[in-house]
């Protein structure tokens, strides 16, 4: 089955084609990061306007890349949520009506299911069950994954998502937008022994996170400092170490609590090299998607949709957007078809 995947939940237009026989056939991404930079953050209306300009040419480009015509497609998967409503609406409207016009099935995909299944696109995919740490600008979640569609949220952020804390702290330190990756790069130059930031919520039981206090801690530290480039780097380092350590400790706790042997990292913060390095210390098999599939992309949506369409999941001809949608509301696709 050849499935076209469409991702437009935030500020990236991602389109890909996944084949259940041959794997990923084509993948294209348009990032709006430059558009939003001069506004200091994602402007939802501008994001939507850009998606509707970029989406059709990207669909043409991936079909060409895969050497296919639209009539060769067997289904279309589009991100239905969670995300920015206007942005989701673009991919959903186009994706659902394209499928309707081609007389093929369409599937409304959960963005975070896409992320946590992204390592399945790699050569050495994880086996079920596993723990997934989903860390991005919008989410920080620890999920127990028993099978596709069988998800239990073990913990989540009570305030800022990890990526959001990175971006906001970067902004306070006067770094350019999007600050998260810039702050991470700066942290590498920082001295780890100058400042020590608290590890939020590690002394409490449970697997929830809270990162907004760290942001404030970073700000007060910065205000009290002499505000040199060295101070900035040292604070970036202390801040990143605190986030990485906290994520590490909670992952270790989640593995212990569930007895699972495998850990999947996904989402934009999963591209953070300090986090990647630290998590290798865990007594578990660690799986990362390639860097390009940590951030939003069409391939993970094509894959998640393909698994469900292959299992025979059907949906009516309705454009579905669900800006708020819990992973736990998903169901295991039933009536698994025979392979072949």
């Amino acid at each position: 089955m050849k499935i076209l995947g469409i991702e437009t939940s935030c500020d990236e237009t991602g389109i890909a084609i996944y084949d259940t026989e041959q794997g990923l056939l084509a993948d294209a991404l348009y990032s709006q990061v430059k558009l939003h930079a001069k506004y200091g953050g994602v402007v939802p209306e501008l994001a939507s306007r850009d998606h509707i300009r970029k989406i059709s040419p990207l669909i043409k480009s991936v079909t060409q890349q895969a050497n296919l015509g639209l009539s060769d497609l067997d289904g279309i998967a589009y991100t239905s949520g969670p995300g920015l409503i206007g942005a989701l609406m673009v991919g959903a409207s186009l994706g659902r009506s394209l499928a309707w016009g081609l007389n093929i099935p369409a599937l409304a995909v959960h963005h975070m299911e896409g992320h946590l299944l992204a390592p399945m696109l790699e050569d050495n995919p994880p086996k079920f069950p596993f723990i997934a740490l989903l860390v991005s600008g919008g989410h920080t979640l620890l999920v127990s994954v028993k099978a596709i569609g069988s998800y239990k949220i073990l913990g989540e952020s009570l305030d800022d998502a990890a990526g959001e804390a990175f971006d906001k702290t970067a902004k306070m330190l006067g770094l350019a937008y999007p600050g998260g990756p810039i702050l991470a790069a700066l942290a590498q130059k920082g001295d780890p022994d100058v400042y020590h930031f608290p590890r939020p919520m590690i002394n409490r039981p449970g697997l929830d996170f809270s990162f907004s206090g760290l942001k404030t801690y970073a700000l007060t530290t910065w205000q009290k400092s002499t505000q040199t480039d060295t101070d900035r780097a040292n604070i970036a380092r202390a801040f990143q170490d605190a986030i990485v350590d906290t994520l590490f400790l909670k992952c270790r706790r989640a593995l212990k609590q569930t007895g699972h042997q495998r850990l999947v990292i996904a989402g934009g913060v999963g591209a953070n090299s300090a986090l990647r390095e630290k998590l290798q210390q865990l007594n578990a098999e660690i799986f990362f998607p390639r860097l390009a599939f940590c951030t939003d992309n069409g391939a993970m949506i094509a894959y998640a949709g393909a698994m469900r369409l292959y299992a025979g999941q059907q949906e009516e001809a309705v454009i579905q957007t669900r800006p708020r949608w819990s992973l736990e509301d998903l169901v295991v696709p039933s009536c698994q078809k025979e392979r072949g």
Partner: protein
């Protein structure tokens, strides 16, 4: 000539099928229900004529102005249908569709069409019927009702929600009759389809990323530099 038309620019949601002179339309006033309704409406108008998307010569859409998200639903669905059937798209103004409706249903030949644009503004266009078609006089614009230049021409009628919401700011300087029936005129796919005939004949074909809304309101956020100046 066979044209499928859709409109989701306002609280109304509609699909229509034009076959030569005949139009069949499915129309509903359904705020925030467009995503639930539009494909079913398309299915219905096609099924009643025993046709499929692949039989169409073109797909027309209400390109705005109107509610931003609604405009993108229409543009997104139209991009999808145009790609799927490899047929051109035709863009029609939602204000023109309202003027055309006022002509067909109430024989109004001169209309000041205004849609509530929120933020104390209106989407505004002046139309006159020429050879049975609503023709725009001047430009469409988004403007505060009190900033419109005074109008003293005779025989004009006010059409659309702006005449209800902003009656007090329009009537002092815009000379036009209006009543509740005309204020309740919404863009409809029926008139999108009728106006699209001219676009089709003049080959104003659109494909892929050319299928875009016309928002009129294009300044939607302040840059960091602009905010710093305030």
């Amino acid at each position: 000539m066979k044209i499928l038309a859709i409109d989701t620019a306002t609280d109304a949601c509609s699909a229509a099928l034009l076959i030569d002179e005949q139009v069949h339309c499915e129309f509903a006033l359904a705020p925030r229900q467009h995503t639930q309704l539009i494909l079913a409406q398309i299915e219905k108008v096609l099924a009643e004529a025993g046709m499929s998307l692949q039989d169409m010569d073109a797909v027309a859409f209400g390109r705005g102005p109107g509610a931003f998200t609604g405009l993108r639903i229409a543009a997104g669905v139209t991009q999808g249908l145009s790609l799927a059937a490899d047929i051109p798209a035709l863009a029609v103004s939602s204000l023109a569709a309202m003027a055309q409706a006022a002509y067909h249903e109430y024989q109004i030949k001169k209309a000041y069409v205004g849609l509530d644009a929120r933020m104390q503004q209106v989407y505004w266009g002046e139309y006159q019927i020429q050879a049975g078609i609503a023709v725009l006089q001047g430009k469409e614009q988004v403007i505060a009702p009190e900033d419109l230049p005074p109008k003293n021409s005779t025989g004009f009628v006010g059409v659309g929600s702006a005449w209800q919401v902003y009656a007090d700011s329009l009537h002092p300087h815009i000379q036009a009759e209006s009543h509740s029936t005309l204020q309740a005129i919404y863009p409809s796919a029926e008139y999108i389809a009728r106006l699209a005939v001219k676009e089709y004949k003049s080959q104003q074909y659109l494909y892929s990323s050319e299928i875009q809304p016309v928002y009129l309101r294009n300044k939607v956020a302040q840059t960091l530099i602009e905010r710093a100046k305030v």
